[in-house]
């Protein structure tokens, strides 16, 4: 149960692009063809390993519908990573990325890692957005990019883990202020040497190599 770090993610993007299915595939390893509309925000969690360290991912899956936008905006600030999802078979979901990105950049902390995901890669026949276009968009806006399929599970694991790797790297580089939990990062109990009250001091020790 113990972990070295805890990262908070959010999943954003237009309605129907498969955000909830991505989460379900990642946490439960199953696919649900007919998924209820997400109301507000739903929660999911899983443990992963990076660099031999246990990392707990807490993921908030948001509703894509416009009417929930004011609710979902509240989640940007406290997240360390965001999966921005579009549907490769629906160009409009790709066209809306700019709006999403603006929204995210405006409300989140500046270090938030954003992973661009073109979902439904299994529906190659109905593809409307080329992979190159996604790559170009990601390059232009400084995002990581991947095409996934929540149905076949292709790249799903990688998408979540690569985002975590990026965050982990940023921590190593000292970019994140890990003592501020508002950044969506928490140091696990096993990282602090003694009691919980020494948490802050302990984390400073762990970080020692970087901050000096």
């Amino acid at each position: 149960m113990s972990y070295a770090y805890l990262f908070k993610y959010i999943i954003i993007g237009d309605t129907g692009v498969g955000k909830s299915c991505l989460l379900l595939q990642f946490t439960d390893k199953r696919f649900q063809p007919v998924h209820d509309l997400t109301i507000g925000v739903e929660f999911g969690a899983r443990m992963i390993t990076i660099d031999g360290k246990q990392i707990k991912l807490q993921i908030w899956d948001t509703a894509g519908q416009e009417s929930f936008r004011s609710i979902t905006r509240s989640y940007y600030r406290g997240a360390a990573g965001a999966l921005l999802v579009y549907d490769i078979t629906r160009r409009d979901t790709f066209n809306h990325l700019t709006t999403w990105l603006e929204d995210a950049r405006q409300h989140s902390n500046s270090n938030m890692v954003i992973m661009l995901i073109g979902n439904k890669s299994d529906l190659e026949a109905r593809r409307e957005v080329k992979k190159e276009e996604g790559e170009a968009f990601a390059r232009e806006h400084g995002l990581i990019f991947m095409e996934t399929s929540a149905k076949t599970a292709a790249n799903v694991e990688e998408a979540f883990i690569n985002t975590a790797k990026e965050i982990y790297q940023k921590i190593q580089d000292g970019v994140f202020d890990i003592n501020n939990e508002a950044n969506g990062i928490k140091i696990g109990p096993q990282h602090s040497p003694a009691s919980q009250s020494l948490n802050v001091g302990g984390s400073g020790g762990n970080q020692g190599g970087n901050c000096c």
């Binding site: 149960m1 908070k8 007919v34 209820d36 507000g40 925000v41 739903e42 929660f43 999911g44 969690a45 807490q58 908030w60 004011s70 609710i71 905006r73 509240s74 989640y75 600030r77 406290g78 409300h107 939990e181």
Partner: protein, 922 residues
């Protein structure tokens, strides 16, 4: 104003007037003073008056104060006064300065709140004040927001949710180092999160669990004061009915963090007088928090996961030690029992642990036994006894091992006769003089055999020694005896419930029951009796149910009461209609509905106890089958055969048993079918809804598409017309050019032929174009047809056509349409090109014509010239003739004169020479 006067009452008029005047004057000062100091003083004075003259200040100063908030932000003091004033006029809580009459039922604060929040910007303004660290601003803002939330919760929640970072800013207050702000923020958050799942989730996302648990720990856990209570209430708010937050709570390992709060330091506390009221409250809330996480009404996987964590982290163990600890107040103990119940309910691991818990008595007894002792003890508080029953039920829920352990203690074994067992206690309760104990014991026993045919049969073996000397009586019979002896309502209902549960699904028990010939007549007499109040009706209904079960699970071993015989008796003695009527009365009863709601026994008074949750489920599942069995046509009416061989009987029995088994299987199958059917219905409904939505969408799309296609057909038509006219034009020009070329042929043969060729080419092009137009039109027709087809398809789509297909087709049509439009554009382009060419040709023709005219003109000129020349020549000829004549004349004259005249030719020369000479001479 009249209304407000009424509120304040007549005798206060004088004072009110003077107060109102002052308020008016102060308002004027605030709004007109240019000096900040003056305004500040006035607002301070308004604040001082705002408690006593709420109404006046509220009605007159609201806008002015809002103005102050907006424009005097830089001065913390004046903002603080203004906020305080608002707080006073919004707050409905009585203050010491208030007269009792002043605090009438009128919701003044609510009305002012409504006015205040009418403009959502006012709330945003307040939220923006939270960024101000100054105590004078932040604290009154927190208080004001709290009172606004208290007065108009729903509206304010929606406003705050929409304000960017609204909830987050409120959450940040929990980190304020000033305790008073932190504590008031807790109250604020409590109001903010009540009944609003989305806000609850955002608050949880902002690390609320962590922060609150930290505060609880820092405040001394359950030993802490009212702040701990507020924290626990907030946690409860965030978790109740919010599966997402519960999941987060579990995933965030917060259950483990609750554990230390349950450790009760037995030694020091037992010596003290007891628990403080605050500690009792805190403990109560803490226990309820645990129950929220494992409530039977939660999604099952959620509850199971939490139960597992609670066992693993030792929380269950701590709870069990509270259960067995001394000095714990009764209501805390009751709640602890309820909590343990829900932590172990349905979880085999936790049930096993619970069975192993020993009470610290000498000799140590199992906790279950100790608890059962309280249940059948009249002197224990009623709610505690209910809790114990609930705990016992939860222990046996889906726990076959536990059930057999309990039944085992009733069976005659070589067990130690001195130790008290659960079985003994239950039997004691069953036959005690206390009706509640009877009820509790029978329900407990019911749960020991429910859905467990093996234990039902085992229980048949139980024999009771009634009194010395007389033969032992079976437990079943003893229950029947007690039932027939009458007794209190709860006793009879309890007994009927255990009998129904026992006999259902257990033909052997039925035959045991029928073997006593007194039982059926008793039931018949009960059901056929028509007297009695509501409670008697329940008993009669239950008797009918029991009778029905006797039929339903009858294996015909009892000759007197075989299935057929029973049916006949029933139909003759009671009547089908009356039977149905009695049976249906059970489910109609209010206490039945109440009990069916949830497994937890939440009765406040002993008289409320009637039905058990598990029994209501049994009743629900069997009611219809009983009715069917009773009303089914009597195919076996031919009666008993005389003297059938035992072999035959056995075969029949076997057959019937097989049949029963088969039927049971089918029932199960059908039930699962029904469940899956239900699921698929829900799914289908959802799909239908989706299809409908998509249909609407498609319709809308079609709506926007069809005008476009009609436009395109219009366009094509107009294009056709254009082509037609162009053709006409071309034709005309062709004719024209033909005539011209005819005329011109001699002058300009080459140009004419070129023109002809061009025209021919144009014509062929035109023909080509015509063809294209035709094909375009046919394609359009086809598209239209497809569209029409699609419309018809769409209307049928909601059930048959899959979305993808429709979508695909639509896409195809869209593509086709695009193709057609493209083609049309192309054609149009070509048309314009040919138009241009035509124009060019016309130009050439005109040029040629011009040229022709020129040529004709030239010809004319030449003719004229020639004419003049001819005329000249003619003149000259005439002149020549004249001269000839003259010469002849001269010649003759000369001849006459004797001069020799030469030939004509010479004459001429000479003449010339002469002339020359003449000239020379000159």
């Amino acid at each position: 104003m009249d209304y407000f006067r009424k509120v304040l009452g007549a005798p206060q008029d004088v004072q009110t007037n003077s107060g109102a005047d002052t308020v008016e004057r102060l308002c004027e000062r605030v709004s007109s003073s240019t000096l900040l100091d003056d305004r500040r003083d006035a607002v301070r004075a308004l604040k001082a008056l705002s408690k006593k003259f709420r109404l006046e200040v509220g009605t007159q100063a609201m806008d002015i104060l809002l103005n102050v908030l907006e424009h005097d932000r830089t001065d913390a003091e004046i903002i603080g006064y203004a906020l305080d004033t608002f707080y006073h006029i919004m707050s409905n809580e009585p203050t010491d300065e208030d007269d009792v009459s002043n605090v009438s039922g009128h919701d003044l604060g609510g009305q002012f709140t409504e006015i205040f929040i009418k403009h959502a910007e006012n709330v945003s303004l307040l939220l923006s004040f939270l960024e101000e660290y100054d105590f004078h601003v932040r604290w009154p803002t927190v208080k004001l927001l709290t009172v606004l939330l208290t007065n108009r919760q729903k509206e304010l929640q929606e406003i705050i949710l929409v304000v960017p970072m609204g909830v987050s800013r409120l959450m940040d207050l929990l980190s304020d180092s000033r305790e008073i702000i932190r504590n008031d923020a807790l109250l604020l958050l409590n109001q903010l999160t009540k009944g609003h799942a989305n806000i609850q989730k955002i608050v949880a996302f902002e690390n609320a669990f962590e922060r609150i648990i930290d505060i609880i720990r820092d405040e001394g856990a359950t030993d802490g004061g009212i702040v701990v209570e507020d924290c626990l209430l907030l946690l409860q708010n965030l978790l109740r009915n919010n599966a997402s937050n519960q999941n987060f709570f579990k995933e965030g390992s917060y259950i483990q963090k609750l554990k230390p709060f349950f450790q009760i330091h037995d030694e020091p506390h037992s010596k003290q007088i007891g628990w403080s009221a605050q500690k009792v409250t805190n403990m109560h809330l803490l226990l309820q928090l645990v129950r929220t996480l494992v409530s039977p009404n939660n999604p099952q996987n959620q509850t199971v996961a939490c139960q597992k964590v609670m066992n693993q982290c030792g929380l269950l163990q701590d709870l069990c030690s509270i259960l067995m600890a001394s000095g714990v107040p009764a209501d805390v103990l009751t709640e602890t029992i309820n909590t343990v119940s829900e932590v172990i309910r349905g979880s085999q691991m936790n049930q096993e642990y619970f069975a192993s818990v020993l009470a610290p008595s000498t000799p140590p007894r199992p906790a279950i036994v100790v608890l059962l002792m309280s249940m059948v003890n009249e002197k224990q508080p009623f709610v505690l006894r209910c809790a114990v029953l609930y705990c016992f039920q939860s222990f046996l829920y889906k726990n076959e091992v536990g059930q057999s352990q309990i039944i085992q203690t009733l069976l005659p074994t070589a067990a130690d006769a001195n130790s008290i067992t659960a079985g003994q206690l239950l039997c004691g309760g069953l036959f005690s003089a206390d009706p509640l104990s009877n009820w509790f014991a029978s329900v407990a026993l019911l749960h020991a055999i429910v859905e467990n045919p093996t234990q039902k049969e085992q229980l048949l073996r139980v024999q009771l020694a009634t009194s010395l000397g007389s033969p032992p009586v079976s437990l079943l019979q003893q229950c029947c005896n007690m039932l027939s002896q009458g007794g209190k309502l709860q006793t009879r209902i309890g007994l009927l419930m255990i009998l129904c549960g026992w006999l259902s699904d257990c033909p052997i028990a039925v035959s045991h029951f029928l073997n006593n010939t007194a039982n059926v007549p008793y039931l018949i007499s009960q059901v056929s009796s028509s007297e009695g109040d509501e409670h008697e009706a329940i008993v009669q209904g239950l008797c009918a149910f029991l009778l029905g079960i006797c039929m339903l699970y009858n294996d015909d071993t009892s000759e007197a009461f075989s299935k057929t015989a029973l049916k006949q008796i029933m139909q003759n003695r009671i009547g089908l209609e009356s039977f149905t009527d009695k049976l249906s009365q059970v489910a109609q009863n209010e206490s039945y509905t109440r009990a069916a709601k949830k497994p937890h026994l939440y009765h406040k008074h002993p008289s409320e106890i009637v039905f058990d949750y598990e029994f209501t489920r049994l009743f629900k599942s069997l009611e219809n089958e009983v009715l069917k069995a009773v009303s089914g046509s009597g195919s076996n009416m031919n009666g008993r055969k005389s003297g059938p061989s035992t072999e035959q009987y056995k075969n029949l029995l076997k057959e019937q048993e097989d049949q029963v088994l088969l039927l049971r299987q089918r029932i199960e199958e059908l039930q699962s079918h029904a469940i899956s059917a239900d699921k698929s219905i829900v799914e289908l409904q959802r799909q239908v809804q989706q299809l409908k939505d998509q249909n609407a969408l498609l319709k809308a799309q079609k709506g926007s598409l069809s005008p476009a296609s009609s436009i395109s057909s219009d366009e094509v038509d107009s294009l056709k017309r254009e082509v037609e006219s162009l053709r006409l034009q071309l034709h005309n020009s062709h004719i024209f050019s033909n005539t011209v070329s005819d005329e011109n042929k001699e002058n300009d043969p080459d140009g004419a032929s070129v023109l002809n060729v061009t025209i021919a080419r144009l014509q062929s092009e035109l023909a080509h174009k015509d063809e294209e137009v035709l094909s375009l039109r046919s394609e359009l027709d086809r598209v239209n047809e497809v569209l029409k087809q699609k419309t018809s398809e769409q209307t049928a789509a909601s059930s048959s056509v899959s979305n993808a297909e429709v979508e695909l087709k639509l896409q195809q049509t869209e593509e086709k349409l695009k193709l057609i439009t493209d083609e049309r554009n192309h054609l149009q382009e070509r048309l314009t090109k040919s138009n241009e060419e035509n124009l060019k040709l016309a130009n050439t023709i005109r040029k040629l014509e011009d040229e022709k005219v020129d040529a004709v003109n030239e010809k004319e000129n030449l003719k004229e010239e020639m004419d003049t020349l001819k005329k000249e020549q003619d003149d000259l000829l005439v002149l020549l003739a004249d001269q000839d004549v003259k010469i002849d004349k001269y010649k003759t004259k000369l001849k006459e004169l004797g001069q020799e005249v030469e030939d004509d030719d010479d004459d001429d020369d000479e003449l010339g020479e002469d002339n020359e000479e003449d000239l020379d001479a000159d």
